[in-house]
Symmetry: C2
Subunit: 424 residues, 2 copies
């Protein structure tokens, strides 16, 4: 056992080094060649629809159709067409590499430039969605990066065929097939990947909370964490309550399963009754279950709101991902800010108020990737923000915060040109 | 024991949360107030010279003067004066927070801005140099961040007095003393710090390789790694050999103990003899020990170079930090690039050549924080690059690469202002 495992770990390192070497090829590709590569890839995905769906069928046949992962795994003609379209959209985005960020001449005659350059080798660890294979490949190649893909065992047949298509296109373009590598799904190999600091520059886990935690705890490679969203909307005493109600309802029910959906409503004492009177009938239509603090609980009982529970302490700071949310009455902005400081996951936070000074204080004071005045938190999205497809929403503060998209798949490099300068 | 340890761990978390709360105060300080705070701090450091040196004496008295750490720990009037001067220089640097990086109106009327904002709470783990206490405090406060300082036990008396001075100034300015916190040096508390993801936003280890490795392996908080420099200078067939010799000598001997010093000379076959003839007499003056591959070994033997060894495989990719370097003859640029890919720590890499096309290929292909044509790698430095004092040279690719200075002590925040927008 020992021998098999360490030999396959060695084989993995050989493969990762091959991708590291190949990353030198994509790093120096011209903008036009990177675009052409993606256009060809999109066309090949379309023309290989039958082959891809056959492979996908093999994966699906091993899964119980009642499993919630079944739909995530499923590809069909229309999903593939929209994947090809996404690849074309990435091709049309501007190349994030090659930008001159700083340029200056030093007194000693050295010419100094700081430029954006590809990261190198981007590793992505994901679960059952095979669309990630194409999405990530498109974003990585567009920005001059090689990619190491470690998908889930559920999608292995589909991912294998997709990777073959990608590698065929790479070879047709005179590049090494190692520019994009699909790794075996053996569990014991994950640790080898997470510690391969010489060959992989950045790791992005995509999937469940437990996957992300595992990668964060075990990786020696820098990780971009796209975490949970515990999102608050604070309705201030000077809010327009019709607007506030519409914003809260939208933030909760327009897509409860996503990270920018609302989890907790904070409301100033003086307007709590007015807000809940407007919210109640709307939330009731969606059978939204409310976890209420004593004051809002009393108000909701008096209105006869049917889906009601007393909030327990753990209902604050909880990401519901469902037609559920917690409610709390606060005395003022300061109490709302302190609640958010304690319970926010620093994803998306909103205030509703007609008082511009109060809004400004909220926007300045709240520490989150995205902060809103008088709008729904549901807008936190790479596409909406004008960045194109995103890999996820980063809730950490280094490198990328908020939508993590093509523009951030680069690092910096200082280029120094001289004519013999030495340091005194 | 268990009880004591867990209660002091709880006390540490209480302190870290206090700093997290206090970070809200520094986050929103105006540029002018942050400058004034640092000016006052510099003045107070000067006026408290006697007190600081007394505390420093207590630390020194516990250490063997022959210990190499003794000099790192030692403060005197002139070192303190230059520390106060550094604080004033940081005060004079531009505030990196508050820059509007993106601004646009969306079709639905939302007004979108991406702005630079303070990171929040910056944790620094360091060893015996007490100057770090003042340097880091100045950089953190200038950029609107709170700081958690975990210095070494050797410098505890000095660090305690320095922190008292900082906290006095904070209170005089109407701020919480918790904005800058010095942690106890108990070893078992390090793990509590490394996992306090809710209260500390970023960790920077400063010190030995083993400290940095420990932090990287155990931290759940994102780490900025300032790593080792294994730096190459490649002398190409078309190099001006006088320039090349001057550059190599400077990169090796001007300050061998630092990370941007040269470790390996790569030289094209055709100019190896010419280069070594020029280098030999210069390196001999400094008794530089050379670890040479067979071809350069033969040439150096024929020249009678006295401090010579045959290179073993581990002499490549080795950071010498001393008057030592390895030498290797290569066939051409491609072989040099592949050697650098394999052995570089991606810190600073140089080429010497009069062929502009060859230089361009090297600068584009080499993956390092700083790449040089016809200059010494010794220039990689925040001050030289125009960034002011640096916390270290980052050899990782996320967030900061190369000199990690004031400008990078910020993250981004998306601010979205609307008038009731909801998502369809």
């Amino acid at each position: 056992m020992q021998t098999i495992s360490s030999s396959s770990s060695d084989a993995l390192l050989v493969q990762l080094e091959a991708t590291h070497i190949a990353s030198g090829q994509v790093r120096t590709l011209s903008d036009a060649r990177k675009q052409a590569l993606l256009e060809r890839l999109a066309a090949h995905v379309e023309s290989a629809t039958v082959t891809i769906l056959e492979a996908n069928r093999k994966d699906l046949d091993r899964m119980d159709p009642a499993d919630p992962k079944y739909d995530r795994l499923l590809l069909d003609g229309s999903r593939l067409a929209s994947l090809a379209q996404s690849i074309r959209e990435v091709a049309a985005l501007p190349d994030p590499s090659g930008a001159v960020l700083v340029e200056r001449d030093l007194p000693n005659g050295l010419h100094l430039r700081k430029v954006s350059v590809p990261l190198g080798v981007v590793g992505v660890i994901y679960e059952s969605r095979p669309n990630v294979t194409l999405d990530v490949t498109a974003l990585c190649l567009r920005s001059g990066n090689a990619a190491v893909l470690r998908g889930g065992a559920d999608a292995f047949e589909t991912n294998t065929v997709l990777t073959q298509i990608i590698q065929t296109i790479l070879e047709q373009e005179g590049l090494s097939r190692d520019c994009v590598t699909l790794l075996p799904t053996d569990r014991e190999l994950i640790k080898t990947l997470l510690t391969a600091t010489r060959f992989v520059d950045i790791l992005i886990p995509r999937g469940s909370e437990s996957l992300i935690r595992f990668v964060r705890e075990n990786s020696l490679i820098p990780v971009i964490e796209t975490g949970a969203g515990v999102c608050h909307t604070y309705v201030h005493a000077e809010a327009n309550l019709d607007k506030a109600s519409a914003i809260v309802v939208n933030a909760k029910v327009s897509r409860p399963s996503v990270c920018n959906a609302l989890d907790t409503v904070l409301v100033d004492e003086g307007v709590a009754a007015g807000l809940l009177e407007r919210l109640g009938p709307e939330l009731q239509k969606w059978r939204v279950e409310l976890f209420a603090d004593p004051m809002s609980y009393a108000l909701l009982v008096s209105m006869g709101y049917p889906h009601l529970q007393e909030a327990r302490p753990e209902d604050y700071g909880r990401e519901f991902l469902d037609y559920k949310c917690s409610v709390k009455v606060v005395r003022n902005l300061d109490e709302a800010l302190e609640h958010i400081r304690q319970f926010s996951s620093r994803h998306s936070e909103a205030i509703v108020s007609e008082d511009a000074g109060i809004c400004r204080r909220f926007l300045e004071s709240v520490d989150a990737a995205a902060v809103y005045a008088n709008a729904s938190t549901r807008f936190t999205d790479g596409g909406v923000f004008g960045l194109g497809a995103e890999i996820g929403i980063s809730t950490q503060k280094l490198h990328a915060r908020g939508p993590f998209a093509l523009e951030k798949l680069v690092t910096e490099k200082w280029i120094v040109e001289g004519n013999g300068q030495v340091r005194g």
